[in-house]
């Protein structure tokens, strides 16, 4: 394992220390228990937005703390959801008196830890709502499974719900917007090469030279299917078709198209995927109104990408365009 790290056990702490040093105007990093909050503290009267989860997906979530997005982020150990003892103070730091929305990716660990933390916060009088993100169409959603995973759609939920909170929406309204985004977003990913978790010291799965994993998650867990390498256009179609089918998006509708890198894939390749995905949507009569291309929710050094489509309406579009100023996403401010 070759990584720019000092000690596998100190990766998250040291990285966030550097993150705090690089963005002192935007965030403050609380070391123990570890969480990241806006530099200015909670905004009085504003609904607070908190997200968190295992580390290794940078810039998610800490990179999205700031104006128009999150109020606090709770990074766990690499690929391991954070614990209530960190989620609770992060929620307190985000609480401006108007309640706090927890944006939680649908993984058993995240759900259980945020659930416990939510109960503890409620006991202290904070109105905590939880919005689950479960946009991964690679995973079967049924009563008898853990349900779909939350993946790249999370970034869009955080941005749009953050804009709603920033414009002064009530907690009911912010919860409703976040839920609406979550309901209208679908994603699917693939991996060309696995990631290496620092404390494991070797790749999270093995792939032969000509194999790829389709339906990969963001934790180095194997995908649903292992197939031979194909041209980018074919792979893009393998990702986009199930998304479009599941979302039921069609003729005349407007979407945001998000092509996300897993951390080890060059930007140029993401644009090759974007190109085909946009073409396929155009063939379906779907208008791409907004785009996002880059490494926004990664899986350490994994090579691969995910495609995400969000069905837009006028309000979601307006909230997407609203100013945002965080270390990893910034416009209009």
């Amino acid at each position: 394992m070759k990584k720019l790290i000092n000690d596998p056990k100190a990766v998250v702490d040291e990285s966030l220390e550097g993150f705090g040093m690089a963005h002192p105007d935007l965030v403050s990093v609380h070391p123990d228990p570890l969480f990241v909050a806006r530099a200015g503290g909670a905004v009085p009267g504003k609904v607070g937005l908190v997200s968190g989860g295992g580390s290794g997906h940078e810039p998610l979530h800490a990179g999205y703390v700031g104006l128009g997005m999150l109020d606090a982020a709770v990074p766990g150990a690499v690929f391991t959801s954070p614990t209530p003892d960190a989620i609770v103070p992060a929620t307190q730091a985000a609480d401006g008196g108007a309640g706090v929305v927890h944006i939680v990716k649908n993984y058993t660990g995240d759900v259980l830890n945020f659930e416990t933390a939510g109960e503890l916060c409620a006991a202290e009088g904070i109105d905590v709502r939880t919005v689950l993100v479960n946009d991964d169409v690679a995973v079967e959603d049924s009563l008898y499974t853990a349900g779909r995973r939350g993946v790249a759609g999370t970034v869009l939920v955080e941005k749009i719900a953050g804009a709603a909170a920033e414009r002064g929406d009530s907690i009911d309204a912010v919860e409703a917007i976040a839920t609406r985004v979550a309901a209208n977003v679908r994603s699917m990913g693939l991996a060309l090469a696995p990631c290496t978790v620092p404390h494991a010291g070797r790749p999270s799965f093995e792939l032969a030279g000509d194999e790829i994993e389709i339906g990969i998650g963001i934790h180095g867990e194997p995908g649903r299917q292992r197939v031979g390498l194909e041209p980018a256009d074919a792979l893009t179609e393998a990702l986009l078709s199930p998304i479009a089918e599941d979302l039921g998006v069609g003729e005349g509708e407007q979407v945001l198209l998000f092509v996300n890198g897993m951390g080890g894939t060059p930007l140029a390749e993401l644009y090759i995927v974007y190109r085909r995905a946009a073409q396929l949507l155009a063939e379906r009569g779907v208008a791409v109104r907004r785009s996002l291309v880059g490494n926004y929710i990664t899986s350490l050094d994994m090579q691969g990408c995910s495609v995400t489509v969000l069905r837009l309406d006028d309000e979601l579009l307006e909230l997407w365009d609203a100013p945002v100023h965080t270390p990893a996403l910034r416009w209009g401010a």
Binding site: T83, L112, N113, T116, S204, G217, E221, R224
Partner: protein
Amino acid sequence: MMTDLDTAWAERWLRESARVIALHREELIELDRAIGDGDHGENMDRGFGAIVAQLDEEAPASVGAALKMAAMMLMSKVGGAAGPLYGTAFLRAATSVGEAEALNGTEVAAMLAAARDGIVARGRAELGDKTMVDAWSPAVDAAGRAGDGEAALGAAADAAEAGAEATKPLVARKGRASYLGQRSAGHLDPGAVSTSLILRAAVTAAMSEIGAGGAGGGR
């Protein structure tokens, strides 16, 4: 060689658990790498390491206090799915034990049942979903059929090991392994294996006083 299932035993149980978890850290990582995200061994080792550190600092006042301390550490240090599940298990176990100074067979069975019920209440997994429940449930059943405390622990550990072994052919329906669908078959569930290690540690702790104090500490 058997000892009372008293406060000293509870402390030995936790230290022995830490020791075997540390010993099997790689194996648990490997199992989780196959059908999950490869952190189970690391997470559990971190949690039980914290428990040992806490034991070194302050001896627990009772069986219940020891289990409650463990619950808090597991809840706050392990993270992931296993943290809240084991945390709840130990918390319910502590409540079940109450003020008891030493446990008899019935109390052991009740403690294990409370732990299992806590896991099910939190995780909503059923028998056969390929989770730690598949080790806990047969353990609870076996303990209920056994005699004294030691026998109950032994039966529970045996049953947990068999239950963990039996997760191999199953297709996961809960937890991260469920994302794999059919591909999850053919692998042991890491949480079921860690459960069997922890329940076996309870037996080892009951077999001997060795392991109390610093000697058995896993780290």
